[in-house]
Amino acid sequence: MTGRDMGMASRTRALSIAFALALAVTACGPAQQAQPVGTAPAATSAPTAAPTAQPQVKRGGTATIAFSVDPVHFDPHKGTTAQNFVSIVYDGLTQFKTGPDVPPGTHILEPALAEKWDVSPDGKTYTFALRKGVKFHDVPPISGREMTADDVVFSVERMLAKDAENIKRDLFAVIDKAEAVDKYTVKLTLSQPFAPLLANLATVFAAIVPKSEVDFKKVAVGTGPFVLKDFQRQSKYTYAKSPSYWKNGADGKPLPYLDGFVQVIIPDEGARTSALRAGQLDFTDLLVDNLAQQLLKSNDQLRSEKFPGNFSVMTRLNVKEKPLDDVRVRQAISLAIDRQVIANALGGGTGIVNGPIPTALTDWAAPVSELPNFKQDAAKAKQLLADAGYKDGLKLTAVLLRSPQNRQIMLEAMQGQLKAVGIDLQLQFVESADLSKRRVDRNYQLMGDNLTPSAEPDTYAYIEYHSKSAGNVGNYSDAALDTLLERSRSAADPAQRKQVFRDIQTKLAELQFIITTGDPYYHSVFHPYVKGFRFSFVNQRIPVKYVWLDK
């Protein structure tokens, strides 16, 4: 390395530290609220339909949206990356409120297929009173019969099946028994009190499916607002309005407002913006900030809403073997990286740093500025590496997929930042089948990945880290952490639960099993005639049932 390079590197580091400090100041609590979460910047503000304006909703029409990935199957209980795709076909017992009047980050639980529920005083028995007259879609082999307690019991047992593909099983694993008390009553008995149960039941992984042999590779049958009519893989999915949806709209008639809904698959982000501009799409969501800004600049008709991502692009560390079994090495990695730079690279200039629980979960996230090991400190990182016996540096290998590109951006940035403390990070691109196998076999050293978005912190905590969780694919095991995670599930009092999650996040920041980095700001962009669309991470369901077209 030449003298000039050294000078350059130290100057870069000094600048990046200064930059990180400046951002750390602006990224803490109050400033975060100043950043309009979910509300659009004034210039591009959408005339979002306020509840009072809704009586004039217009019915009919078909809306088209683009997605980047194809769903492998339509089975809600076996999570895939494209799960949110077909989720408009299904309902759960509970759901989070969505729609134009719910800002992202607000999570209000409301009844869905269960009209109401009772929880026993010991917190171990939940009795759900089902909504009467809810019909499954008129799709073979079901043909529109009524949804009853038997279907719910069947679905719960299906969710709990000890099947390697049921990777979200631990969201519900505390359910001991599901019984149909009568046609419209279901009783769930838990092995222990479990605070996140109702929220977990609102995820798409707890969708109610008919008690029947359904080949979810070919059909999707649920009780949701839309019926999957036709699809061509890697190309187009066509939905028609369900004629018998159980929820009424603002005009007193059943939702949804749209007659039909089309999802087209366009993997390339540039092509998606072009299609939107050309009017081939009515709206798009999850468009990265810089692309959205450019699109809005070139077209003053389009409207947008901006919100922070909660995928938290991250690197999993497999702690089974040396050197990552040593907490000092993991802390050194965390201290060596500049998360704001990574977040900015992900979002094309702007981005949000996320800790173990993403900032978008406003009720639960601990401010990153208060977590240990989150502020870049190369000197301390070097010291920790030296203490751990890696004074002369070490070599690590990360596996990643080529697409989505956010993993490459994160790991390339980390590569440069880790080099400064003597860690040589190699990138190894693998195919998605290979990656899935490596995940199941826990055969990797580092893995570029992102977290599963959810409204419930349990997904980000217990599922990923508990030593007995099926979702723990990095051999993580820490007795104190396990105790905290178990307490987070049994604590019934919200304030107490909040405190437990604060402790969990502090503990995780010390342990650094998963190096979380950050997220871009995303935009939903739509044509001005699209009303009632508000992106929501919750439920992993796209709230299209409230969308109507003013044209």
Binding site: M8, T12, L15, G270, Q405
Partner: protein
């Protein structure tokens, strides 16, 4: 006349040779204060999504591109010429067999063939050079065979045979010198193709691996997400590939003109 192609090729060769002196920054150094910035005085070709200087990366990327290009060309030319000359000179069943093998290889699209071979061999410089060389060799073999057929039928070969020269001596002393011009032309065309192949394979992720820059991998990955907002990330490596390939192809054309006796005196 051939001044432009020579100058272009020379410029790229100098760029690759003196790359470390021509870079303004470490091509891997990330500048968090200058992420995705357009061309400016500080960064003449702008910066990429991690604040790395595009000029320094394009300059450094010329080394794998030209290096792999030249090495793969050498593999292709040695292999292709040897097969073509032997096949054309000896004829008979060996010729028939070798040409059917060449036929099979020529029917497969080059990129598909290269992808299949790389999937087996794995990414890396050595496999990249071997694979591109193997993909380009059949075309060269075919042309070299016809050039050899023409030479073999000449009177001086017959004369050499008549005085009892062995095949090996005839090939080395009489055939090879007379097909050298063809080899040179093919070589300069092959290097252009090899550069293009390297870029394509790196673009597809099977060539030079990040963070090391190459023209191909600078065009792919995150640069695509940024293409609409920061086109300089992809445009400049793209221009570099185009100019280098153009240079070598024009050079090939010029060499052909120079060596072709029928064109001599026409300019």
């Amino acid at each position: 006349m051939p001044r432009v192609p020579f100058a272009l090729v020379l410029a790229f060769v100098l760029l690759a040779v003196f790359a470390p002196a021509l870079t303004l920054y470490d091509p891997l150094a990330q500048d968090p204060t200058a992420q995705a910035k357009p061309p400016s005085g500080l960064h003449p070709l702008g910066t990429d999504y991690l604040g790395r200087d595009i000029w320094s990366r394009v300059v450094t990327g010329s080394r794998p591109s030209l290096g792999v290009g030249a090495s793969a060309m050498a593999v292709a030319v040695v292999l292709g010429s040897a097969l073509g000359i032997v096949s054309g000179y000896l004829g008979g069943p060996l010729d028939l067999f070798l040409q059917r093998v060449v036929d099979v290889l020529l029917t497969l699209p080059g990129l598909v063939l290269a992808l299949a071979m790389l999937a087996v061999l794995g990414a890396g410089f050595a496999s990249l050079i071997a694979v591109i060389g193997l993909v380009l060799a059949p075309g060269i073999a075919r042309v070299m065979r016809s050039a050899t057929l023409v030479v073999s039928a000449s009177g001086y070969i017959e004369a050499a045979r008549a005085v009892g020269a062995r095949d090996r001596r005839i090939l080395a002393r009489h055939v090879l010198p007379n097909v050298t011009a063809t080899i040179l032309v093919l070589a300069s065309l092959a290097i252009g193709n090899a550069i293009l192949f390297e870029a394509a394979l790196s673009f597809l992720g099977l060539g030079v691996q990040p963070p090391e820059p190459s023209w191909g991998n600078m065009l792919s990955g995150p640069a695509r997400q940024y293409f609409e907002v920061a086109p300089w990330m992809a445009v400049f490596p793209g221009v570099a590939v185009s100019l280098a390939v153009l240079g070598f192809n024009l050079l090939g054309d010029s060499l052909r003109d120079i060596f072709d006796p029928r064109l001599q005196g026409t300019t």
